[in-house]
Symmetry: C2
Subunit: 243 residues, 2 copies
């Protein structure tokens, strides 16, 4: 609750402080310290932090929604989007586009939440350009993760959450990695991670209505329950998102 | 036309032979020989090849479609899906699920075609398990590519098309790579490509209605035209899908 109190001191409501604290504490538990408690001081340093801002749903159709952050933190925009999907799931599938949605933290956290409510979720989001082409040139793509979470009848969802960077920007901020290590992952095949980062970025950039960092989510009702059979085949191999 | 004739000799209609030949010849032009002309002999070797089979659209809503291959080649199922999206684009966005859709060839080919018609497209598809966890264990995931194609007002679409394998199965078939090289790409970070392959596989497996190899496509009307500005920033850097 100490974390909640520190966030409330920045002007956030009790509910929003709880949302943010839960995200940061979950990051710490998963060892993703760049997305963890260090972000509280970082929030306090943001010149345009508006703790009263509220995201808005500006298009609401059965298979498509568009949201706008309206100055709210991306965490809180994704929180509102997740809650809305769980409260009113799609008939089959839905694409959700979030304009002005930054920062978004660990995308796996949000995808896991949607999948914990029984829906399939894939989520990507953009961030400042930090990755260049492996052969050189300007930094063109954010680390733009892709998170995919699949509900399972035998326990928690399976969650794949992959950033296209070799290290995270949080690692650089914390001094655990040099800026020169923030490159597409993959070594001699880093052009693949660069292509994924750029493709995901342009997917978001082409779907948002208000230019800026944003997010795109696919939400769907599962037709099948493939995780238990995969776990059986895996025979104990650690699978993505396992603790 | 010689390729068309060889395919027609297998029992395919003139139209389907043209569709298949165009795919194989485009693969050859792009240097993706594993998806190229060698596939004609491979088709001839398939014990259950049914050149008369036709894919069927079994669910058709504004924001969601489900198709079933009904024994047709995945190439021809994706061809029908692409044509249907271009003939009747979504109002905003649409998810298309293809049950029993295999083999699918170069996913970038299909995504490019949809984007050449002005629509944003992301496409993934599953294939036999060939990738294991980098730490060992059974082969659990196909090479499951992700292709993303974005229309551009200044020329052809930008197309990112990334397989999660270090080499392709076509390379192994052709003897250009050993079976032991067919692992997730990424070297010391191969767990990332493995997680993407497994996440994409479960996304498809959870959305298909008839278990088996399938595909999932996102199609959307663009709200923006981000490629020209990206090309300007790239200042001549080669971008994904460039010839």
């Amino acid at each position: 609750m100490e974390t909640d109190a520190r966030i409330r001191a920045l002007g956030f409501s009790e509910r929003d402080a709880r949302t943010l604290a839960d995200h940061f504490l979950d990051a710490e538990r998963r060892g993703k310290h760049g997305h963890g408690l260090s972000r509280v001081a970082w929030l306090a340093s943001l010149p345009d932090l508006d703790p009263q801002a509220r995201p808005e749903r500006i298009v609401d159709e059965r298979g498509y929604q568009r949201w706008h952050g309206r100055g709210a933190l991306g965490y809180l925009t994704l929180d509102a989007i997740c809650a809305a999907q769980l409260a009113d799931p799609p008939d089959d599938a839905r694409i959700v586009v979030a304009d002005r949605c930054f920062p978004t933290g660990m995308l796996g956290y949000w995808a896991r939440r949607v999948a914990s409510g029984g829906l399939v979720c894939a989520l990507t989001a953009t961030s400042p350009p930090r990755l260049g082409h492996p052969d050189g040139g300007p930094k063109l793509a954010g680390t733009n993760p892709l998170a995919i979470a699949i509900p399972s009848s035998d326990g928690p969802p399976l969650v794949a959450d992959v950033s296209m960077g070799r290290v995270t920007y949080g690692d650089v901020l914390a001094g655990r990695a040099g800026d020169d290590e923030l490159v597409p992952f993959g070594g001699p095949q880093a052009h693949k991670a660069f292509a994924l980062a750029l493709g995901l970025q342009l997917l978001v950039d082409s779907l948002v209505g208000d230019p800026g960092y944003g997010a795109v989510m696919l939400v769907a009702r599962p037709q099948a329950d493939p995780v238990p059979a995969l776990r059986a085949r895996a025979a104990g191999t650690r699978l993505p998102g396992d603790a």
